[in-house]
């Protein structure tokens, strides 16, 4: 079964290229996120995934919701997705678009987990360390995870940098 990411990639690439041409990368990002959330909403998802509901009805419903919120070109993308029956790819398209945007603008989204709440000073220290390590601007999202016991864990896409106490205990256990 082909991965959703493989199916979503052409749409995301097309959207990003268009966004760069018209210089509205940020607006597209917001619009796609909005659409992704709409489609994932419980009631909406039920209607969208229901084979009995005709494509015209879905199109009408979505356009009513989104017309004022998003640009004309985003509406075109939406119509195309409905026509091809690929609405459930929207969350993936939004995620991939984010990745392309991040790569283009030279920043990376990092999830930072810490055992205890970090002060502003500590946070900026870690962000600076990560920026040096990853050689890109870092957009950090901080959250607290007690299971780490101490230290921090940083996740950037696939890469994980583990400086937590629980990670070190795990290494020690393997060594012994």
């Amino acid at each position: 079964m082909t991965e959703l990411a493989t199916l979503a990639r052409p749409y995301a690439e097309a959207a990003f290229k268009r966004a760069k041409e018209t210089g509205s990368a940020g607006k597209w990002a917001e619009a796609l996120q909005f659409l992704a959330l709409t489609v994932q909403d419980a009631d909406m998802a039920e209607i969208v995934n229901n084979p009995r509901v005709s494509k015209e009805k879905i199109q009408q419903l979505l356009l009513d919701i989104c017309r004022d919120q998003v640009d004309a070109e985003v509406i075109n993308l939406l119509k195309l997705l409905i026509q091809n029956g690929k609405l459930k790819l929207l969350p993936k398209i939004s995620a991939l678009y984010e990745e392309y945007k991040a790569q283009d603008e030279g920043y990376v989204n990092v999830d930072l987990y810490s055992a205890y709440a970090l002060t502003k000073a500590e946070q900026s220290k870690y962000v600076a360390m990560l920026e040096k390590q990853l050689d890109k601007k870092v957009n950090a999202t901080v959250s607290v995870d007690k299971s780490l016991i101490g230290g921090i864990l940083a996740k950037a896409g696939d890469k994980v940098i583990d400086g937590s106490v629980s990670g070190q205990l795990h290494q020690l256990a393997k060594r012994l």
Binding site: E3, D158, K159, V160, I161, D162, L176
Partner: protein
């Protein structure tokens, strides 16, 4: 030596002190699906081909399918506890197994973990299972013999150190028996043996281990087991594991013998993995690279020259060549050697020993079909005595085969034809040998000489083996120095020939068989 409790905690304390806690960076992915031992992992964009991936619960898998957005992983070991959404970590290591002298005498599984209950294996050397075979310049041609200990094989289809000789036949024709006899006969020769059991019943493997222990052959043998109830992945990698263990000895300037029993089951296991990974099936539903899995395995069995050994041991071992001899086993269905996998492996190896059910059932054991069996190394890998005497045997059997149809009309034929048929019958009877009774070079030389010189022609066919047994015990008691000399030098000088001839004449006079 027993460790007392304080010593143990001291050791641990030392390890903890010296533990260099580093910030560890690795890649992670998430499990998307788990089916039949194949796990699809999303992410892991920098996984390597054949890399070991760590799953929760300490399970490991091997990355085989690297796709754009996901990785197809084949699980090595238990996978029932893995669920969708679990995190998978890259280890950065291609699959490796422990190698070294510590493995001799042990029974291990396809990952090198001991399964004989004799404790952990004390080896800190490890080697990846996939290695590139030695290059053309690094090799040396095969000219030293590996004595299998079976008359039919050593006289007509000799195997040399560094050769690949295929043992091919239907089920229950004695393929494993030849392999076990070969291992038993390597006692005291300095050749280390590795027996890789792929897809076999554990009871059969237990039998083999027991027989080797009884004959004192376990000390120079490593047994690698991937039995029928183990996952296809383990059955697939077991031969490569055994090969890495054999290469350790080859690269040290020593000789090793490896037996793959059998490669048909490894091909089946690989077919299962490939179909589950959704690789396109080809002929007989095998994937397109079924030739490559065998060719890259068998190319690693080679003889490397002294210069290469010196290079590989950093100058520690000089002037010695190293070799790894392979005896792969293939099981045919209904005697069909022109099926896909048998033809593949026949084209890879340097010869085959062809075993037939018909011969086996008519009492000729080992059931070697001397006409279809061939060794492409041939006489270069024989001791002088066997080479001289084996030629006569081969000729007698070839002529006998031509006249086999006329054997029923023995009384109506001319003298020379009748003589040829009778000689052929006696030589065929002589080639039979008991299981677990491999013969030394001297014993074989005496037997073959008796046949060549015509001492058997006057005997009844059914008395030939009794004659041989009595002759050999006579030579053992009456001419021990001559036998020892032949075993040591392998020569067939006139002096030895005359000594043998007169000894046999004396034996014939005693009439004790």
């Amino acid at each position: 030596m027993q460790l007392n409790p304080s010593e143990i905690s001291d050791l641990i304390k030392k390890k903890i002190e010296n533990f260099d806690a580093q910030i560890e960076a690795h890649s992670e992915g998430t499990v998307v699906s788990v089916t039949d031992g194949i796990v699809r992992v999303h992410g892991l964009s920098d996984a390597m081909q054949g890399e070991m991936l760590e799953f929760p619960g300490g399970s490991y898998g091997m990355a085989l399918n690297l796709e754009r957005d996901s990785v197809g992983v084949v699980m090595l070991g238990a996978y029932q506890h893995i669920t969708e959404g679990d995190t998978v970590k890259c280890t950065g290591r291609i699959l490796e197994v422990p190698v070294g002298e510590a493995l001799l005498g042990r029974v291990v599984d396809a990952l090198g973990q001991p399964i004989d209950g004799k404790g952990a294996i004390d080896s800190n050397l490890s080697s990846p299972i996939e290695k590139i075979a030695p290059g053309v310049i690094a090799r040396q041609s095969v000219d030293q013999p590996v004595q299998i200990g079976l008359k039919a094989i050593d006289s007509m289809i000799p195997v040399g150190r560094g050769q690949r000789e295929l043992i091919i036949g239907d089920r229950q024709t004695g393929k494993t028996a030849i392999a076990v006899d070969a291992i038993i006969n390597q006692k005291g020769t300095g050749i280390k043996c590795i027996y890789v059991a792929i897809g076999q019943k554990r009871s059969s493997i237990a039998n083999v281990v027991r027989k080797l222990e009884e004959h004192g052959a376990m000390e120079h043998t490593i047994i690698v087991v991937a039995s029928a109830s183990e996952s296809a992945a383990l059955q697939f990698i077991a031969p490569y594991t055994g090969c890495s263990m054999g290469e350790y000895f080859r690269d040290k300037g020593e000789d090793a013998l490896i037996i793959y029993d059998d490669l048909t089951k490894q091909a089946w296991a690989y077919r299962q993995i490939s179909l589950l990974l959704r690789r396109p099936p080809g002929r007989e539903a095998y994937p397109g690279d079924v030739f490559y899995i065998h060719s890259r395995l068998l190319e690693r069995a080679a003889r490397i020259n002294a210069a290469e050994v010196e290079k590989l041991t950093d100058g520690k071992v000089k002037g010695k060549t190293g070799s790894l001899t392979a005896l792969p086993i293939i099981e045919t269905q209904g005697g069909d050697v022109s099926a896909f996998v048998p033809t593949n492996v026949i084209s890879i190896t340097d010869g085959q020993i062809f075993l037939e059910t018909g011969l086996f059932n008519s009492g000729i054991r080992p059931a070697v079909n001397a006409g279809l069996s061939v060794s492409r190394v041939g006489g270069a890998a024989q001791t002088k005595i066997i080479k001289k005497l084996g030629g006569g045997i081969r000729l007698d059997l070839a002529q006998f085969r031509e006249l086999a149809a006329f054997a029923q009309f023995a009384s109506d034929l001319d003298e020379s034809t009748r003589k040829q048929i009778e000689r052929g019958q006696r030589v065929t009877e002589l080639m039979k040998q008991n299981q677990y009774a491999p013969m030394s070079v001297a014993d074989m030389g005496v037997s073959l000489y008796a046949a060549n010189a015509g001492f058997l022609d006057s005997l009844e066919v059914k008395k030939v083996r009794d004659f041989e047994a009595a002759l050999l015990s006579f030579m053992k008691s009456e001419e021990p120095e001559l036998m020892a000399k032949i075993n040591q030098t392998g020569d067939f000088s006139d002096e030895i020939k005359n000594g043998m001839h007169s000894a046999i004449e004396r034996f014939v006079k005693t009439n004790t068989w």
